[in-house]
């Protein structure tokens, strides 16, 4: 091995360097200067994100345990953009809430450790690597969910998350051990070749799948989602709903479409059922929510169901539609969470009823929220429409018309509760609407990036074509 080989791990090494620099800054800066860590972290991560987009490389390291190619590079870069927006939006909150308690740098370090785990998970060529990446990406998030140590509901979110995560990882491990018992290898490429499609492998696969489905919050494994989203700090909820889910979707895609061809019939049927359940139950529960964070949590569950539609075809179009949808979903959902976070930080209100008449007092925030919700619902010409359109196209070309019908009905249901928020903001009059909220510069920058993404991705058709071309080889 020489230095050129190590450059294959450029994303990971860069992020590690950022983590080490911020750790040193935490050690050497004195108490008063600690709030300077926020701009430092944002700048360093911005450089990392920009450098990450350049020079996609292809190759393997450590005897195939680590591998990368153009598509994996794209996945990591998408996750980078998401994390950058999340920490931008968290900047003002960190300055206001965390800086007085001297707990700024840990927040960034935990988020980045989790991101590092996701990098390794997406790049894994071996089930051991998948497992280690999965754990490294989950455990810091549990600490983040319980980050507001003085609040009861944050502690409750933490305990609920760590217990469910523990159960999920135990089940995953059982699944991996059964797969190992049947094939005798952990290397993904060999695993695909040695599988015979017997029932032990099917059982092992279902156990393994349960662990990943927990992270995507598919329906029988979704019970933690609303509680953790409501209890955790808003930026952590945003992180969970986009980045954590995105990484799990990516690894599921790589495993299913790249390495488990023999079990195709099995997982297509499993996902068919789970997609229907997830969309329907997520939407129906979202209808009766009054708390906006819980509503967005159930909406995130429903959106996970839509993502599963792309798995119905393991061809190029299935992969491309999933990645494109994740990119669009990232911008839309982070914009919605950004607005919720701004309002919650300044007024402490997070119910739909509190948003009545918001347009009168905060027109710009309301407009951002409107765009985000319309994009989530899939109204043209915003990006969300095209994301859903490509997913539906995939299902239609694979010939699952019943599933397509259910998905379209679910889109209409979801439109109802998204419009409920819009109605509260724009049409309802309130005697005492929320006061004018001035968001800080970082939050504003984050929201601008999100809005630009929502609008631009809907207009620029080149993005989907580029992703499609990259999906030719997984």
């Amino acid at each position: 091995m020489n230095w050129d080989d190590l450059l294959l791990m450029r994303h990971e090494l860069q992020l590690l360097a950022v983590i080490l620099i911020v750790t040193c800054a935490e050690i050497y800066l004195s108490g008063r200067d600690k709030s300077r860590i926020i701009p430092l972290s944002l700048a360093l991560f911005g450089i990392h994100m920009a450098a990450g987009w350049l020079w996609p490389v292809e190759g393997e390291l450590f005897g195939g345990m680590y591998r990368t190619n153009g598509l994996i590079h794209l996945m990591k870069s998408i996750l980078d953009v998401g994390v950058f927006i999340v920490i931008l939006q968290a900047g003002g909150w960190a300055r206001k809430q965390l800086a007085p308690e001297n707990r700024v740098s840990e927040f960034f370090l935990l988020i980045w450790s989790s991101l590092l785990g996701m990098y390794y998970m997406v790049s894994a060529g071996d089930l051991l690597m998948v497992f280690l990446g999965l754990e490294l990406s989950t455990l810091p998030v549990a600490a983040l969910a319980a980050y507001e140590v003085l609040k009861m509901r944050s502690a409750e979110a933490g305990i609920k998350f760590i217990l469910t995560a523990g159960l999920a990882s135990a089940v995953t491990l059982m699944g991996i051990s059964l797969l190992y018992g049947s094939t005798g290898t952990f290397v993904l490429a060999d695993l695909g070749k040695q599988m015979q499609g017997n029932s032990l492998e099917a059982l092992g696969f279902i156990f393994f799948f349960a662990g990943v489905a927990f992270k995507i919050s598919l329906v029988p494994f979704h019970f933690w989602t609303p509680d953790v989203y409501e209890g955790a700090p808003v930026s952590v909820a945003a992180y969970l709903s986009v980045i954590s889910k995105g990484a799990a979707v990516f690894i599921l895609m790589i495993l299913l479409m790249g390495f488990a061809p023999l079990l195709t019939d099995l997982w297509v049927n499993v996902l068919y059922l789970l997609a229907i359940l997830t969309m329907t139950i997520g939407n129906l529960f979202a209808l009766r929510q009054r708390n906006l964070k819980r509503l967005l949590a159930y909406s995130a569950v429903a959106q996970a169901g839509f993502i599963m539609l792309g798995f119905m075809s393991s061809q190029q179009d299935g992969k491309a539609s999933i990645i494109y949808f994740m990119l669009v979903y990232l911008f839309s959902n982070l914009a919605a969470f950004g607005v919720v976070q701004t309002i919650e930080m300044h007024t402490g209100k997070e119910d739909i009823g509190d948003y009545e008449g918001l347009y009168r007092t905060n027109p710009r925030l309301s407009l951002v929220m409107l765009l985000a919700l319309f994009s989530l619902a899939g109204i043209p010409p915003l990006a969300g429409f095209f994301g859903k359109f490509f997913l539906f196209m995939t299902v239609a070309s694979a010939g699952y018309y019943l599933l397509l019908t259910i998905a379209v009905i679910n889109t209409v249901i979801s439109l109802y509760y998204y419009l409920l928020i819009v109605r509260a903001m724009f049409l309802r009059k309130s005697d005492n609407p929320l006061p004018l909220v001035t968001s800080d510069g970082w939050m504003r920058a984050g929201l601008v990036i999100c809005v630009a993404g929502i609008v631009a991705l809907g207009v620029a058709s080149g993005v989907y074509d580029a992703i499609y071309a990259l999906c030719a080889h997984l």
Partner: protein, 105 residues
């Protein structure tokens, strides 16, 4: 390889451990007991790895290696869980899941 003990017997023990863990996880009310159940499940999986490696694929030690990683990760997980439980205990002076119910519906 243990003389006189077949793979099926070891797998029976590990599967029993796993499902006793699942049962305990779902029925217990005490957070510490729930964590112990979690440990049972993880250890059941670890036994599986070692047993498969020893009996079916004795050539290379990859299953045992996985079990080692598993033990380390399980320790991290439980350490973090205990920290969060202690944080909770400071607030409600109990480690009972029935009292952790402010977030619901």
């Amino acid at each position: 390889m243990i003389p006189g003990v077949s793979l099926i017997e070891i797998l029976t023990v590990s599967t029993l451990m796993f499902f006793i863990g699942v049962y305990g996880f779902l029925t217990r009310k005490n957070l510490i007991t729930i964590l112990m159940s979690l440990e049972l499940m993880l250890n059941g999986a670890a036994i599986n790895f070692v047993a498969f490696n020893k009996y079916l694929y004795p050539g290379q030690p990859n299953g045992q290696l996985f079990a080692l990683f598993l033990i380390a990760v399980a320790a991290c997980e439980v350490a973090l869980a205990i920290a969060i439980v202690i944080n909770l205990y400071r607030k409600i002076k109990a480690v009972d899941v029935e009292q952790v119910n402010t977030l619901k519906h």
